[in-house]
Amino acid sequence: MGETADLVVVGAGPAGLAAAVTALAGGLSVALVDSGTAVGGQYWRHPPDHARPAIPTADLHHGLREYRALRRALSTARARGRLDLRLAHHVWSVTRDDDGFTVHSVDRRRAPEETAVALRAPRLLVATGAYDRQLPFPGWDLPGVLTVGGLQALLKGGGVAAGRRVALGGTGPFLLPVAAGLASRGVEVVAVCEAAGPSAWLRQPGPLLRNPAKWAEGARYGLTLARHGVRLHPRTAIVAAGGTDRVSSVRIASLAPDGSPRPGTERRVEVDAVGVGWGFTPQLDLLVPLGCHLTDSGDGSAVVAVDTGQRTTVPGLYAAGEVCGVGGARLSLAEGRLAAGSVLADHGAAPVPGRRRLAAARATVAGQRAFARAMARAHPIPPGWAKWLTDDTVLCRCEEVTAGAVRAARADCGASDHRQVKQLTRAGMGWCQGRICGPAVHCLVAPHRPYAPTERLIATPVTLGVLADLDDAGENTEGAAHE
């Protein structure tokens, strides 16, 4: 199998885009792979290029100037044959051998048809981002309850609001842009329930003062929300959702200092959609099986360990963006540039973007990481959250495993990690493989350790027929010969 490029980048969000563009500028050939139908990741999620006039979303975005500049750079490189852009390609496994990495993907541009595509390169950069972290509550499995990211994705990707009367809940600064986006599209945002207290940020003044851009961004959302009469309710949480075939109400409670609901403070609010999110879980599925060391991010999740040049502990493997710790688009962009700088240096190519710009990127990374740590401290998972779970609350949505069953596994069998809970209860054994319930189950049985996902050797479902054809074609026997 020949080399596809000097570098494969998986993930075309801010980190992957910045990395690809930087590596291309340094003269490398790059294959950029993403499961989406447009570049931009979740942060700059867009409809596919051909549909943009019909689905205007520019008003929902920030930093579009940068996004457009990155896209222009990609187009130029593509026209020169140096960029192999693989949209709607889903990577199901990455393997490493003496000469580099093989990225095993399926091309789903004509989904549901799928075609196997293997990409090879001596170096690999993983920038697969993160997804919303969930803390279950009674009724969270009702239709109309979405992740905040899900509401945002429908809005940015399809111009669709999932409801007309929406309550948002959870913790973290991401609630604000989603609320602002929905409000600006005419949705009545009836409540934004933030579990942290109103002064949580003020206890972390240093990193905040050093990030005036974040103040400005926050103020912009604040103005939008004020204009639409949206109220932020600090130290509250959505503790239950009601409805039969669709959510029709939520119960909102004030939270005690430990994050448990204060008895007697619950009030019922009628809604037709709900968005919830408790920070983010890094998407480490491609990194864990390669044997990368992980480290504690400080926000409850394990992240991939990288050096100051974004090198993982596996030679030739680099990581950038939320897989290294959740911290926003500016951090991701800077990490992407740094990672590509290291790829170039390790490749023996000319130092682009140059020492001064690399130093600037390093400074940005340091500042943004400090800010992210401050945010994580200001928006922790409330320790008492599990008090709003009833025994019949579904924790694992796929296998419909209840909180009672998980608690029993802990009490009767001493289950002390989510893998053990899975073996005993099936929580995490279904379609999503614990991606959604894993962090919550972990919080229930091992709240004092950061959540590290179970190893998932198959990163996305793929039909057995496609795999069988690979074997019949003999394309994949290289590995077998090694055995």
């Binding site: 499961s35 139908t37 979740q42 409809p47 596919p48 051909h50 549909a51 943009r52 019909a54 689905i55 789903r108 989904a111 549901p112 997804y131 919303d132 499995d141 009702l142 239709p143 109309g144 309850v145 979405l146 992740t147 990211g149 899900g150 509401l151 945002q152 994705a153 429908l154 990707g157 399809g158 111009g159 669709v160 999932a162 075939d245 669709r246 959609a273 579904v394 949505r397 796929c398 296998e399 419909e400 279904g430 379609w431 999503c432 991606r435 959604i436 996305t460 479902p461």
Partner: protein, 84 residues
């Protein structure tokens, strides 16, 4: 507006929307029934992680409606998990 069919009924969509976005735009948030509890489900994470939004598309089962762009003439069948 282009159309695809959902369980035999036509559904209009804007070119570029996913199947899930088109369904939600039409006011539908649930289209799957779970295997164990027979509960209604629809779009949850919206980005391909949770698999709540599975539908059958042109005969292919287990497709994530939130990832697949709607195409004119597509046949979408909502999924009872026991139907396979």
């Amino acid at each position: 507006m282009s159309r695809f069919s959902v369980d035999g009924e036509p559904l209009g969509f804007t070119e570029g929307q996913t199947v899930a976005a088109a369904l939600v735009a039409a006011g539908r948030v649930a289209w799957r029934t779970t295997r164990v509890g027979r509960r209604p489900r629809g779009v949850f994470c919206g980005i391909g992680v949770c698999f709540d939004c599975l539908v059958t598309i042109d005969g292919a089962v287990g497709q994530r409606a939130c990832l697949i762009p709607a195409r004119a003439g597509m046949t979408v069948t909502t999924q009872e998990d026991d139907d396979g």
